[in-house]
Structure formats: C-alpha cells, structure tokens
C-alpha cells in the first residue's frame, strides 16, 4: 500500500488483513518525511524511537489476535502546542525552545490508550497566533499544493503534514479558525469541536474561552473516528462536558441527513470574497441539493462585529495566559545579550528576546483593553458583542439545523503577502471567528474537484478550496453526517 492512499480506515483494514505491519508503515513514513519534509517543513521534531515502540506494540496485539481499536498503530502528527510526555513542546516559540513536556495532554492520554503512534510535533504560528504559520519562531511551512504559498495557520504544519502524506492524520488547535483555515488551504478535512467537547488540559493555552483541539484528516469519516476518541469530560478541564455521542457519529443515516435544513447566511456571501471561492462553495451547495437537502437563506446580523470582538477578547486572554512565560520556569533564552542585574530585568529581557513580534503585539493589545479606563469601552463591550453574536446563531438554529459558508475569503495566499499588515492577516479569519465566539462545532471540507476550474488568475496551479459546515452545540453528528455523504457522492 502506498502512503498516499492511507486513511485511518484503510490502515486499520490493512493491518487486520496483515497486508503490512504498523512498524513497516511507521518506518516508511519516517523515510518519506526525511525526503519530503525538506521541501515542506511541516515538522519541528520527530520522535522515531518512541514511535517504533508504539508501532511494535500494535503489531504484537495483532500477532496475539487481541481486539484492535480503529486507531491502533495509526501514525499521527501532533501540533507543537499539545504536550506529549518527554517530547519537545515549543509552541513554535523561542521562549520554549528547550522545553520538554513532563506529562501527556488528556487527548494524548486518550490516543495512547487506543494505541495510536506519534510521528512528531508540527510547526505552527508562535503560540498559535497567526493565519499563515509565518509567525513560527523556527521556520516556514510550505503549502504542498504550491510551494510559494502559505499552508494557512496557525496549525499549518499539521495541515501540510496530512496533505503531503507525511502522516495519516494530525491534531491541531482552533481558537479563531486555526484548524479550519489551514485545512481549507491544504485541501484536507479539519474539525473544530463544540467548546467543551474536548479537554484542553495539556494544550498550551492561547485564549482559554475559545481554544479547542481537533483533528486534520483525509476523510470526514476519519475525523469522526478521531473526534469520538478524544471527546468527553476531564477532571483537569472544568469547561469540558460529559458528552453523549453515540453511533450516529460514525454511522450516520442518509434518511436523517436528508431531513436537515441548511442555512446560507447572507453576511458570508459578500463581495469581498474571491469569486472562485463563491463558485466553489456554490458547487458544493448544488451537490448537496442533489442529495435532497433543503437550503434556506438566513441572516446573522452581527457578523460584521465578530472580528473586532475577537481581537479584543482573544488578546485579553493571551496577555493573562502568557504571563506564565517568565523565561525562568520553562526553558530560557541562551546567552541574553547583556548582563542581567535583577529579576524584573530578567523577565523583561527573556520575554522580549523569547517572544516574536505578533505575540508581543497581542500581549500589549490585551494589556491595553484590560487596563483601567479602557476596560469598559473595549473588553466589557466585546463580551456583550460576543453575546449578540452567539444570539444570532441561537436564533438561526431555530430555523435551520446546519449553516454552510466559505471557510476563508481566498485560497492559500503567497508568503509575505499579508505579513506587513496585521489587520489584513486578521481578515483572513472572518468566516471562522464567529464560530469560536459562539462555541459551536464546525468542519472544513474540501470542495470536490474545485481544483479543476477554480484556479486563480494569478496562479497556474489549482489550489484547494474548502466549505464550512457549522452545527448546533453538541451536534457534530449533523456536520460529520453531511460531510460523509458528500464524500461518497460521485461527481
């Protein structure tokens, strides 16, 4: 079997039929990564020995005819802000350059329990702050579809690893679109679960009221398998909730999916969106109509305030969460430029040399919106705007079951295109941010054959384009179900 063809489902079937061993495939992945990742730059660190051990364990189970979980032996890539005991966890920041995690994140614990294999940690925007992975403190990751373009961000390494067949699937985190936007740019599936469905314990916190961990996969079916494995209440994350995801998550019924009404919000189909993106999303809508699904025009009137609301609330939380990085307790910057006299000076020096510009910008912005005199005008106002944005969705979901939108206003953009203007970069998340503010589940799915006729005038190479399905709270089953039947359509 070729690595390019591997999904979780196919890997599992091949393993059971003894077409290959988990160790063989794991070795093959590392051999391929060695060559391919020179070009892509998806990984920050690899964990060969540990991966081989875990693969052998899966093979031993097969040999003993023990029951196998669907994820036994499956080689995964993990974003570098999710802790794996004993492995580096830098969040792509210089301030954590030498840090090694001392415990497993809850999602990792759960994945270990079902026998998954971890190939390594993937590149990202520093502390997950960015939309192109250009803010990594270490290196650039390239879009496998066009090496002159970004993979999206912040989970760009995870998206590129799956798209370039350097892992069967991967995990990322999504605070304002950091799973869905890179999934769209790299032509893979990306799921952001309902806030509280997955434990955040062991995820290096960026904005705690928005962060969620979720999977990158080649198929919607694989995303459902990974999501079901990591969901559930955790004693170490008090915002996590006991969930009741039953078989419909993995085995949706067509008659149930056909009954869904899908809303198309007018605020998401606007003139600022590239025509190629609108065309691609419309073709997906028509394909869904062929399944018998009903569509309805809806309005989410406060959408235009989401960006401002997000860029107040998120930096406020960032400024608090990143206070723990004092340059002392975790790793430290080697050889600071000048001699340090006292503790305060050390903090300032370590943080200034350890954090990149975007991180500093957000810490300062967050400090500003929380400062006395400005708190009410900015932070408190944004919290109220957030309530209105959530209410829009609550109202819409009285009429429809799922909402369909573009993921991003453009396909993958070129390196450097938006780095000089933070606001332009922020705008690439306008369709994903409202979902995090409202705490809803959403998935990015590549438009089928979008690449044949959607290529941009500026590019000869066809670029992938994704559409987004937004579900009601705790109704991942609806968006995964629609996605799975979309995937099975012959086009």
């Amino acid at each position: 079997m070729h690595l390019h063809d591997l999904t979780i489902k196919k890997f599992h079937e091949g393993l059971l039929k003894k077409d290959f061993s988990a160790l063989e495939i794991t070795k093959e992945f590392f051999d391929y990564i060695e060559v391919k990742d020179k070009e892509i730059g998806a990984y920050l660190s690899l964990a060969k020995d540990e991966a081989f051990l875990r693969a052998e364990k899966a093979d031993l189970k097969i040999a003993k005819d023990e029951p196998m979980d669907a994820l036994s032996g499956v080689p995964l890539a993990i974003k570098d802000n999710i802790l794996i005991d004993g492995q580096p966890a830098t969040a792509a920041s210089k301030i954590l350059e030498n840090y090694k995690a001392v415990y497993d994140a809850t999602v990792i614990k759960k994945l270990k329990a079902v026998g998954a294999v971890f190939l390594g940690k993937t590149n990202m925007d520093e502390f997950a702050m960015g939309s192109s992975t250009e803010n990594s403190g270490f290196k650039l990751t390239k879009n496998p579809y066009d090496l002159e373009r970004v993979p999206g961000g912040s989970s760009g390494g995870s998206a590129a690893a799956v798209a370039a067949h350097m892992a069967v699937a991967a995990f990322g985190s999504d605070t304002g679109g950091s799973i869905r936007q890179p999934a769209s740019f790299c032509g893979v599936v990306g799921l952001k679960p309902t806030y509280g469905a997955v434990s955040r314990h062991g995820l290096i916190a960026m904005a705690s009221s928005l962060d969620q961990i979720g999977p990158f996969t080649k198929t919607v079916e694989d995303a459902a398998i990974l999501f079901k494995t990591i969901a559930g209440k955790d004693q170490f994350d008090s915002t996590s909730v006991e969930t009741n995801y039953n078989d419909e998550l993995l085995n949706p019924k067509l008659e149930d999916v056909k009954k869904l009404t899908v809303g198309l919000p007018e605020e998401y189909f606007i003139s600022g969106v590239e025509p190629g993106v609108i065309k691609a999303v419309e073709s997906a809508i028509n394909q869904f109509k062929s399944l018998g699904i009903n569509f309805k025009k809806i309005s989410l009137p406060h959408t235009k305030y989401a960006l401002s609301c997000y860029y107040i609330i998120m930096p406020a939380e960032v400024s608090a969460n990143l206070a723990r990085f004092d340059g002392i307790r975790y790793s430290k910057i080697q050889n600071p430029k000048s001699k340090i006299q006292n503790l305060l000076e050390l903090y300032k020096r370590q943080r200034s040399e350890g954090f990149g510009p975007e991180v500093k910008r957000r810490i300062i912005l967050g400090t500003f919106v929380l400062s006395s005199g400005y708190y009410d005008a900015y932070y408190a106002k944004a919290q109220k705007a957030r309530a209105l944005i959530k209410k829009d969705f609550d109202e819409a979901f009285k009429e429809v079951d799922v909402i369909l939108t573009p993921v991003a206003p453009t396909p993958a953009f070129k390196f450097g295109e938006k780095t000089s203007d933070p606001l332009a970069m922020y705008l690439s998340d306008i369709f994903t941010i409202p979902v995090n503010l409202a705490g809803l589940p959403a998935i990015s799915i590549p438009v089928k054959q979008a690449t044949s006729d959607m290529s941009r005038v500026t590019s000869h190479k066809p670029l992938p384009i994704g559409f987004q399905l937004i579900g009601k709270h705790w109704r991942e089953a609806d968006i995964l179900g629609m996605g799975m039947f979309y995937e099975r359509l012959q086009i």
């Binding site: 001392v102 004693q235 960006l307 000076e345 910008r361 957030r386 309530a387």
Partner: protein, 99 residues
C-alpha cells in the same frame, strides 16, 4: 476614541514585562492605532440590555470536592524541576530579587 502614544505604549510594555526596541515601538504604534480604530465600530452597537458572555459557555461555576489528588503527574515535583533551566538541589535558581 482611544489613542496610543509613545508614552502609553512604554507604560503598557512595562506592565506586560516587555522591552520594545525603537523599531518595534514605531511599528507597534502604527499597527495598534489601526487596530484600535477598527474597534470603534463596536460603539455603534446598542448593548444596553445585553448580558455579557464571560466565557466559552454560559454554564455556571463548576465546583469539585477539596481533596488531595491521587494523580501522580501533579505531585512529581522532581520531573517539573528537571525542566528548570537553572537549578540547584531541586530549587529554581534565579538572579537576586532584593538589592
């Protein structure tokens, strides 16, 4: 609405335990002002009767029994101390705090 100048930026950086280079200050002043100007659109929203959304969910406080954790990964201080870049006898080593 709000304006950020060189002095207020310095104060914010100080509160956030950051030192900005001259070049950084210059570009941050421009960027931050642009971002703050963008935020002005929120002022047109009528939020008088709106209850703020203060977290990721509307759920209430989650309490637990006040008891000692049996889980070992929070009590393994030695493992945590190993990650201190500078340490001595299991303690974290830092420059003098008092002068």
């Amino acid at each position: 609405m709000a304006e950020i100048n060189k002095k207020s930026l310095e104060h914010l950086a100080d509160l956030a335990r950051l030192e900005l280079s001259g070049k950084e200050s210059e570009s941050f002043l421009v960027d931050l002002q642009k971002i703050l100007d963008h935020f002005n659109e929120l002022q047109e929203l009528n939020t008088e009767e709106v209850q703020p959304m203060t977290g990721g969910t509307m759920s209430k406080n989650v309490m637990r029994e006040d008891e000692i954790f049996k889980e070992d990964h929070y009590t393994d201080a030695g493992k945590l101390a190993e990650q201190f870049p500078e340490r001595q006898d299991g303690f974290l080593k830092i420059p003098p705090v008092f002068e």
